[in-house]
């Protein structure tokens, strides 16, 4: 009796979904980066222009956006290190699935620490 294909390194399951997540977070970070260079460039226009735009960012909605952005960055960073291990470590391909769970655990810890600190600063008033 034929059995269902068990998935390979890149088709289905952890390998494919981490690849999907890596692409989506990568694109999100790239478009943020374009905007981030443009807003920082306002320091060259005038101190008032920069401080005004940064001041407009300091609201609860943007704080949530920043937290989401950091979630994307931390996943992309740790999963990127996993991809390097898959490519360069002899046993990388064999343990890619286990490494993804390590990535997700590290992501959760790092992201939780960032979110608690950043949101309590940003939402806690000043």
């Amino acid at each position: 009796m034929p059995t269902k294909p068990a998935g390979t390194l890149y088709r289905g399951r952890e390998g494919m979904w981490s690849w999907v997540g890596h692409r989506i977070t990568g694109v999100v970070i790239f478009f943020f980066l374009l905007v981030h260079v443009l807003d920082t460039s306002l320091v060259r226009v005038s101190p008032e222009a920069y401080t005004a735009v940064i001041g407009a960012y300091k609201n609860p909605l943007m704080a949530l956006g920043e937290t989401g952005l950091v979630a994307a960055i931390v996943f992309h960073a740790f999963n990127g290190l996993r991809i390097i291990a898959v490519d360069f470590w002899k046993k990388g391909a064999k343990y890619q699935r286990q490494m993804l769970w390590v990535v997700l655990a590290l992501w959760l810890v790092t992201f939780a620490a960032f979110a608690i600190r950043h949101l309590s600063l940003a939402l806690g008033g000043h």
Partner: protein
């Protein structure tokens, strides 16, 4: 009415053997005229990726988690950092590596999903133009920036500025 079931169009040659047939022209690989560019692009993604993890985690930690965090960010904060060549080169390396890493990533995505030659070409033209503008702008801002401007005849206060 009879139905004609055709042979598969690939995978078999006239002698019926799988895998020994000729390769149809549209599936032939290029002649390698691009040299090793794709290999270097692949290697660059991994090398720049490792460096970017350090640069960006450091950037986020220093700017958002230390002291008052985001409340401290204003003109004086940026000026104070860029008065120091260490942070100028940190941010310069981050700008160049992140932009090249991101541009190559989006280039890969365009190659994967845009099927028409013309669409692929124009999307990449837009991508490269945007990346070029951002890299040049960011580099100029980091190095032509004056951290101690005089506003309305008054020197902005900053411990890193020379006394007026």
């Amino acid at each position: 009415m009879s139905t004609d079931i055709q042979n598969p169009r690939s995978g078999q040659n006239s002698s019926g053997k799988i895998g020994s047939g000729k390769i149809a022209p549209q599936y032939r690989r290029g002649t390698g005229s691009k040299g090793n560019f794709e290999m270097f692009a692949w290697l660059f993604m991994r090398l720049s990726g490792v460096v970017l993890v350090v640069l960006i985690f450091g950037h986020l930690f220093v700017n958002l988690l230390v002291g008052e965090g985001i409340h401290a960010i204003d003109f004086g904060f940026v000026a104070g950092k860029w008065a120091d060549p260490f942070w100028q080169f940190w941010d310069l390396a981050m700008l160049w590596l992140a932009m090249l890493h991101g541009t190559n990533g989006v280039r890969t995505i365009i190659n994967d999903y845009a099927e028409k030659d013309a669409t692929r070409f124009w999307l990449k033209v837009v991508l490269y133009a945007a990346s070029f503008v951002i890299i040049v702008l960011g580099t100029l801002v980091i190095f032509t920036f004056n951290p101690c401007p005089v506003v309305n005849g008054v020197q902005l206060p900053g411990g890193f500025c020379p006394a007026p």
